[in-house]
Point group: C2
Chain length 341, copies 2
């Protein structure tokens, strides 16, 4: 039997994951869920351990992981998110962060110009290097002469493979986003790998934007994008932005994957949202759609499609949480999706 | 007599700067303009020199600089923008990049929800360090084992002074934007300086957002922001985004300043836009409003106000370029502003 690790995490994480598990059970997936309830900020604050080696082995022995959200206002250090989410991305070599942004219903768009609303793109975010490499330190920490250095590390190996993935999923084209007019070394290495990838894929239409222009264009003309490929940091920013433009981050799902090993970690794009945790208004659709992405990757395409269709029907019927203009609670949305299955 | 250096630059830069000079002449400022026409991508491509030391001395001997845009599709290296714009920011120690985003007219907002439209914020971008420090290199350049490293450098000195500026201009509050949940060293140094700055300014309301959430919120609730203070790279991205949300980047102006020396370099937030260069549709309002920011800083507040009012009247009357929904050409917009003076 296929085992899926589940890390509910912090804030609204457990609330949205609960609904994802409810609908997946309702689908009759027959998957076994290994729920790591204790991997959260409270454990980190008490023990100093973000993710134990034992838990890491449980994750890597499973078929995939579904994660809610990590982050807690009581934790100010980066060691917590680095120790859980960033460790899993890095140690399982999940080098692609695949984040689709698609408007589920035209009424949800924050944009007023109709032509602009047809957003249906994928952010392909490099997920193992860049500014997230974790290499650096602080000189004279504590003094007013402190100097902090974080290395943005980009490798040919890392860039080339994520570009390859981006081209492999292109429908209408690939847009590279970088800052090669200002960031010298990484900029030129991305440009070199980009030139080679374009040559290997002569039939795919390509464009290139600097990251500032790309952020702007995601508001002024989001419908023009198909696949956006970019580094870890820009991908983090642009995927939240694209999700918002596509009607709200509450319904955005993502897949952290290694296309070669097939392993994937699936998570909603939203964070732990401590401000609304416990109020019952958290939108579970991002978590539910992340579950659908997981099902698709482990060979259950039909169940994945059924689940996605059920979510679309729920949204079209206005059976949503307040962020999407509805008045349902988290659990009621789960029940509504279940009823559509 | 006060001398202002003018660097028209590339693409639409010369077109918009021409109109800025026309309206400033019309104001009767009596300023002398030292126009460095030759500082552009063509010169760089021919000579390899982005900005000569002689030109740098002309800039630093003047009262301020007005710049159009730097960037050309023929230039793929970062050395050009680094050699002109980033050199001026760094060598003149213009550590604050002050970028207001204010909706000139409600009809220009791309957002459909009225409550969201009232955007009136300032991005305070650290302008001398971070990822723009230019420190790094490529190991095994040219090989498929290449490793590129760019250091993101943040210093107590650099962070503290830009935070101080942000607090000094706050009206409703200051929001720090960083990525301290993932970027270890810079993240913790920004957080430390932020804690100290908050303590020195106990009466200013403060908030903190991670950069991905901030990008999202600039679309979902832009009216909630007053002053956003952030690092060089995030400031680059968020200021383009804020300008677009506030009705379009064509009218966005910025000031690169050193509040202690008083020197400033003023430029529209838009780039050189090679795709529309020469077509006559470039919007000169960003350049004109940058001129107004310059006037305000060199003690000509009244002229600055008159110019800003004239721009607002022009926009309200719909006498704009196509990007703002009008049908005027660049020169006609300049003439329209002149007529309103
Ligand atoms: C041209 C480029 C290097 C520059 C920057 O990134 O600072 C520009 O985008 C800006 O914002 O002034
Ligand atoms: C929690 C945080 C470190 C993480 C990231 O920046 O990658 C999150 O924002 C995401 O996008 O999954």
């Amino acid at each position: 039997m296929s085992v899926i690790t589940v890390i509910p995490g912090d804030g609204i994480g457990p609330e949205v994951i609960e609904q994802a598990l409810v609908v997946m059970d309702g689908l009759g997936t027959g998957l076994e869920f290994d729920v790591l309830d204790h991997v959260n900020a409270s454990t980190f604050l008490r023990t100093g351990v973000a993710l134990s080696d034992v838990d890491f082995r449980r994750v890597s022995a499973s078929q995939g992981t579904l994660l809610g959200a990590v982050g807690d206002p009581r934790v100010t250090s980066s060691e917590y998110a680095r120790g859980v989410l960033l460790r899993l991305r890095s140690d399982l070599d999940l080098y692609v962060n695949h984040r689709p942004a698609r408007l589920l219903d035209a009424r949800l768009s924050p944009l007023r110009d109709e032509q602009r609303r047809n957003i249906d793109c994928v952010i392909v975010r490099e997920n193992t290097e860049g500014l997230y490499a974790g290499i650096g330190g602080i000189l004279r920490s504590g003094s007013t002469e402190a100097v902090a250095i974080d290395a943005e590390v980009n490798t040919y190996y890392g860039i080339d493979r994520v570009l390859e993935y981006a081209f492999s999923i292109a429908r209408r084209g690939v847009c590279l986003v970088d800052k090669s007019n200002a960031v010298r070394s990484g900029g030129s290495l991305w440009q070199r790998c980009w030139a080679e990838a374009k040559q290997r894929n002569p039939d795919v239409p390509v464009t290139h934007l600097y990251v500032d222009a790309a952020a702007m264009k995601l508001v002024s003309d989001p419908a023009s994008f198909d696949v956006i490929v970019t580094n870890n940091s820009y991908g983090d920013i642009l995927s939240d932005l694209a999700a918002e433009v596509a009607g709200g981050i509450g319904a955005a799902a993502s897949a952290n994957i290694n296309p070669h090993t097939g392993y994937g970690l699936y998570e909603p794009v939203h964070g732990s949202a401590p401000d609304i945790a416990g109020t019952g208004v958290a939108n579970p659709l991002g978590a539910i759609l992340s579950g659908a992405m997981l099902l698709a990757r482990i060979g259950r395409e039909e169940q994945a499609r059924a689940l996605t269709r059920a979510v679309e029907a729920t949204v079209t019927a206005g059976r949503c949480t307040p962020d999407l203009g509805g008045d349902l609670h988290t659990k009621e949305v789960g029940a509504a999706v279940l009823a559509e299955l």
